[in-house]
């Protein structure tokens, strides 16, 4: 059978007309479905001309660990119920940390196919119910439990191994990675929904205050980099990655309202059109030729760019998967924004990826500081893009016309990657 492997297009146009997220953080006493309702209510409030809930035809919910963190299978169905949407079809999607992006992509495909006109999609993750060491284990289940955990690999360990390879091949330094953390914390400090709305300087001041309170010697760091070099306050988690190279453990939910292009204007004057979507899969670290990039990310990006008919230079802003600082370095080169290696590694330190830089990356604070509720993260990325593209991002609004944007969401250490491109016309 001969099949066309040429450019794929969506069957019809698709737009996002609403987006919401709940406050990310340690949400003790609030469950997945309850956080979903918070995000859902915020989404409803974001639809300029309102949404009649009877018009929503299906719900896709990303979640990867409710079976253990909440001892609940099929959590998407309960989110649908609590949002008042029973009996519409509800699909729970697990692709590790890319679950919500896959859920949103399924919603997009559902509309593009003509089956639905109005779809809800997003994700949830309640992660703080277990002690950190047990949560670390649950996160490791995103990798290959049979053949990677075999070698003693934790999840940070896998990204640390990529960081070691990057440092060896390109001379990337721990300070290059620290600059990513500093930049993303600067952004999160302006994001009221972030788990850590704090700059690195804020953390330094907190530590100094604590030392004063306890009558201990006051540490004197010359600057943020010197603080981040201090092994007492920034210990190794998996060398060469340190505590501040890693995202926190987060409870959170986010969702978006996706509609057919022909009815988008009945919801808002400024829909955000989905013009490109790509998804690809990858294998274990030991089955890859190189450890300095994520192969599935390059394939997903290529497919999304081809569908959209745009290239990396055209993209104004991006939310990328920075579960670890090294992940952002790889993301911005896999997306073609910066050359792989030193150019990508030094982009943050050189100010190229700040809100005022040539390519603002992770204006939300990223997974690093906004937080990473794994099954919800992809939807949280789209929320930020939706706010920025419509000029609603408040103090962290980029100073450019963000009419073309990208989201890049990685499942596990690159076993799933979804890249999507959005346009405001």
């Amino acid at each position: 059978m001969k099949m066309s492997k040429g450019k794929r297009k969506l069957g019809r146009g698709v737009a996002i007309v609403g987006a919401g997220m709940c406050k990310y953080g340690v949400r003790t006493g609030v469950s997945n479905r309850e956080m979903f309702v918070e995000a859902f209510n915020n989404m409803r409030a974001s639809v300029d001309r309102g949404i009649d809930l009877k018009d929503i035809e299906a719900n896709y919910v990303g979640c990867c660990g409710a079976w253990v963190w909440e001892t609940q299978a099929g959590i998407g169905k309960w989110c649908t119920d609590w949002a008042g949407l029973v009996p519409i079809p509800s699909t729970t999607v697990d692709n590790a940390c890319a679950s919500a992006s896959v859920a949103i992509r399924q919603g997009i495909i559902g509309i593009a196919s003509g089956l639905y006109d109005v779809v809800l999609a997003g994700g949830v993750e309640k992660m703080t119910t277990l002690p950190t060491n047990e949560t670390t284990l649950v996160l490791a289940t995103g990798a290959d439990m049979t053949w990677e955990a075999y070698g003693g690999y934790t999840f940070p360990g896998l990204y640390a191994t990529m960081a070691t390879a990057h440092m060896h091949e390109y001379g990337t330094t721990p300070e290059d990675l620290m600059a990513v953390a500093i930049k993303n914390h600067d952004n999160a400090a302006l994001n009221p929904m972030a788990q850590m709305p704090n700059t690195i300087r804020d953390f330094m001041n907190m530590r100094i205050a604590k030392c004063k309170e306890k009558g201990q010697p006051i540490p004197s760091w010359a600057n943020e980099i010197e603080f981040l070099r201090d092994p007492v306050y920034n210990p190794a988690v998996a060398w060469p990655l340190k505590l501040f190279d890693c995202c926190p453990i987060t409870d959170g939910a986010a969702c978006v309202l996706i509609v057919a292009e022909e009815i988008a204007k009945s919801f808002t004057d400024t829909p955000i059109y989905v013009i490109g979507t790509g998804q690809a899969s990858g294998g274990a670290l030991h089955d890859r030729d190189s450890l300095t990039y994520i192969p599935a990310a390059r394939i997903a990006a290529k497919n999304a760019y081809e569908m959209a008919g745009v290239g990396p230079k055209d993209i104004k802003i991006a939310e990328v998967h920075d579960c670890f600082t090294i992940a952002e370095v790889m993301a911005i080169s896999d997306l073609g924004f910066f050359k792989p290696g030193k150019e990508a590694a030094t982009a943050a330190a050189e100010g190229k990826t700040t809100r005022n830089g040539v390519k603002p990356i992770n204006t939300s604070g990223g997974l690093k500081a906004k937080g990473h509720p794994v099954g919800a993260t992809g939807a949280g990325m789209v929320f930020e893009i939706f706010e920025q593209m419509r000029g609603h991002a408040g103090k962290r609004q980029v100073p450019i016309d963000a009419n073309l944007a990208i989201t890049h969401n990685v499942g596990a250490h690159g076993t799933t990657v979804v890249v999507q491109i959005y346009e405001r016309r």
Partner: protein, 145 residues
Amino acid sequence: MSEMPFTAASFDKFCSEKKLMASKCKQCGTIWLPPRPLCTKCKGNQMEWVQLKGQGKLVSFTTIGVGTPTMIEAGYDRNHPYCSGVVELEEGPRFSAQILGVDVTHPENIKIGTPVTADFIERGSFSLVPAIANVRKTYLVFKAS
């Protein structure tokens, strides 16, 4: 030996006999470690077991202080980190394993490209499923040589 299915359990059985065994595609000759029942290169599904020499080099690595439950049980912690790495075998395939014989307290001195040799170590395993938790088995590890 040729009767053994191309599974993780068979691999474990060979390890318990201190044999490093991989599956080899009869069609294209690609060697798979971890062993696979289907050659993902040529898509052939006729495989045979082959024994590897156990010589390789370190592709990349990390040192871990907050380890997996298996490694915590084995005595590793923040003060006693261990090294995990990706090894490339002489015969071609790569494998994720614990790396012994390196200075884990000074990871900056561990060199990519370090020659390593296969070794076998017995320890417990971890699972959320009680029936298969804590089963002791022989693990393939590599020693810097």
